[in-house]
Amino acid sequence: MAAPGSLIERPVVRRRQARPAPVILWVVATLALAPAVVPFAFLIGRAVAGGSKAFDTVFSDRTAELILNTASLVVAVSLTAAVVGVAAAWVTERTDLPGRRAWRVIVALPLVLPSYVIALTVISALGPRGLLADAVGLGLPTVRGFVGAWWSLSVATYPFVYLIVGSALRRIDPAVEEAARGLGSAPRTVFWRIVVPQLREAIGAGVLLSALYSLSDFGAVSLVGFDSFTRVVYAQYAGRLDRTPATVLAVVLVLLAVVVVLVESRLRRGRPFVPRPISRPTRAMGLTQAQRAAATAGLSVLGLLALALPLGTLLAWVGRNPAPDGIPWSSLAGSVSASLLAAAAAVVLAVPTAVLVVRHGSAATRWVERTAYLTYSIPHITVGLAVVFVASRYLGPLYQSMWVLVGVYTAVFFALALGALASALSQVSPSIEEASRGLGRGAWQTLLRITIPLVWRGIAAGGLLVFLTTMKELPITLLARPTGFDTLAIDVWSAAGELLYSTAAVPALLLLLVSALPTYVLATRQR
């Protein structure tokens, strides 16, 4: 999945004086982000208007405990993701381990598993009378609470670190390492003193994604029953008539997300790593027999826990009780149509916005990018809360409609489409467009006949990313969906919440199947 950081890191083909942007581009950018930004502003207003009650909620002992819970989860998951991701990337990119290509696929694949599907398989496979206990006849401990949340989210997020660090490793010039080795440094010293510092940027980006993901995750923590912030926001929302406390906690949650971003950028401060052109491919490090065995064992365990266990568990549940309630066709249609709509809307709006931020770049347009990125980072439970709050009061007939839901998806995932398009557009020289204008084509014609065809890959990548992310989305859907509208994510979550594991496994597998093709296309064609 593209790091939202890619918004900032694109190469500049030609720097030139930016022309003032046509107003229409600003209108489009505003339209795209408004469905999430405006409700969020209202939410803050409501939290502030909550006054003394809001103050009591924020400064209670319970809130401190929740922050501690959430922080320990975020730290534990980020560390695990960093260690697992870096180690796996190093072994599969830099050594002569047999079967490296296959391992690269296996290690990256858990990326398609939503956190709540992992949590579902963890709680239903383990436990004293779980699937594994049945199979091997052992009473296994129940994995709920912190351990269950840590496990599920580590599996869900280490691929972020793995993919980003893996691609950084391919870009590092081996000459420096070789020089260090030539000067007599041990491999271990080379790793810590030469490689890791060059990877700092990449590890930071991966860990940031992992931390934000675990901070915002709602599905996994609620299924394993761990009192992280998101779960309590939802509990307060669903279990209380007065919604002010939920609102206040939801805003505090966003502040925590801001803290994560700040801490990460602080840790990364210093000279940024600038990849230099690589003169030749890195020579793979020869592993000894023992190292080879250890690396293979490590990757096997990872593959077993992160991929074989979840998939095997789902298949076993389906095998035990094939489709107890049939195939959930309407949820499948709901997921696919909502995700397609969001993807289409996101790219349609992202093309003009990319033109705005790339071709008319200014301090003001950088705020558009920043807003898109920040909107993407707002925990979804907060977005859902805000949307219900605003729509129920001010949107009349649009309240609980598909339009609002899709509009919010589009705004929240807009950064993914904009990132892909901005990076595609910045690789196209503006002189081609200028030539078209010079030859008498209008602005619209140039956009349709020149620019869009040239950034077609960016459109496809952005659309696929939005589609995939929307398919997995849970909390916004849960709160803001139309009456009677179901998605696969909702089906998994509600059946798992009732411990109906066979029933939950069917939509979970469907979700993976529908996600598999776009993921494959993204992974193989975007190299």
């Binding site: 319970r62 405990e65 077609w456 009677g484 411990l499």
Partner: protein, 337 residues
């Protein structure tokens, strides 16, 4: 990089198709919107029967009862809902107190014992549910269980009790305890319970499944979840224990329904309520969901102790709604939420 015009057009077509699908699903032919705090697998078949018999289509929003009550209060006059069907009297009361429910006709109210309906006729009880302790018979006998729920605060119960602290029926139970025993006693009970680190679940049914699965020894739930499990699985290791001592642990609380004052089709809405009180629906509650029917002429399923023998304490149902947020506060302050 090549202009892939076929791919582009295909994308446009797909997007257009999705748009059509979405707008179609928006403009369905339903006439009544129901907010149901009772889950789809419990009451979905009943709603289907209603549509078959009357031709009135239903769009049902399933969520927690308290959640829907709060949503209705938030929506106010903007609410698309026609009927509110809740699993506990506290949620119903909260909506009624906000002035959002219309008064029901007397012929409907007259079908049900007034103990199980709103005193001012704004909602009517549809089925009764008893609080019970579900326990694992392979590890415990009824004699091991405390005689009141207050016994679960003893240290010996550490890590052995399952609760659903975010669920409407647990919160309504805590609200009832506040009404019966007062706030101080309730807070002390919750603190004692929290000190024992109970297993926390989202709903009642997973607690019963967890007791059956050996994950936890006992749980505080409504009586009928176990009977449903038994109907599906036959013999179970889990069993219900009724605390027949007249305390909060022996409460019987109704699920019920009311019509929104803002409904644009009150007649059809009242027909749905009438249907829920019909012999057919009451029999469904007795035989399919294993609750206590509230309309005379329909008996509870064999094996359930009769309603009169449960020793349920009298409860002021309107006070319950006012105690609901206090209950949530106390549960949160005890660190259970």
């Amino acid at each position: 990089m090549r202009y892939d015009s076929r791919g582009f057009r295909l994308g446009l077509v797909v997007a257009a198709l999705a748009l059509v699908t979405a707008s179609c699903s928006d403009a369905s032919s339903t006439t009544l919107t129901v907010y149901s705090g009772r889950s789809e697998n419990l009451v979905g078949p009943l709603f289907d029967r209603f549509t078959e018999e009357t031709g009135i289509g239903l769009a049902v929003r399933y969520a927690g009862s308290t959640d829907l009550a709060a949503t209705l209060r938030e929506e106010g006059s903007n609410s698309p809902a026609d009927v509110f069907f809740a699993q506990d009297p506290a949620s119903l009361g909260a909506v009624a107190e906000a002035g959002l429910l219309a008064t029901l006709p007397d012929d409907l109210l007259g079908l049900v014992d007034p103990r199980f309906s709103d005193a001012r006729g704004r909602w009517v009880g549809t089925s009764g549910r008893a609080r019970v302790v579900v326990y694992d018979t392979t590890r415990l006998s009824p004699d091991d269980l405390p005689s009141t729920v207050f016994g679960f605060t003893e240290p010996e119960w550490a890590g052995r009790v399952g609760i659903a602290p975010t669920n409407g029926s647990f919160l309504a139970f805590v609200a009832a305890m506040i009404v019966i025993k007062g706030e101080t006693a309730t807070a002390a009970w919750l603190d004692g319970l929290a000190a024992n680190h109970p297993g926390k679940y989202e709903k009642n049914s997973p607690i019963v499944a967890a007791v059956e699965g050996g994950e936890i020894e006992t749980g505080l739930v409504n009586h009928y979840y176990l009977l449903r499990l038994q109907a599906e699985e036959g013999e179970t290791a889990a069993a219900n224990h009724f605390l027949a001592n007249g305390g909060p642990g022996s409460l019987v609380m109704p699920a019920g329904a009311g019509v929104l004052a803002t409904s644009d089709d009150r007649e059809s809405a009242e027909r749905l309520i009438e249907f829920l009180l019909s012999m057919e629906a009451q029999r469904y509650f007795a035989e399919e969901t294993f609750e206590y029917p509230l309309v005379s002429g329909v008996e509870p399923v064999a094996g359930l102790p009769p309603l009169e023998l449960l020793g349920a304490p009298a409860l002021d149902l309107s006070a319950l709604a006012r105690a609901l947020d206090r209950a949530t506060d106390l549960v949160a302050e005890a660190g259970l939420l």
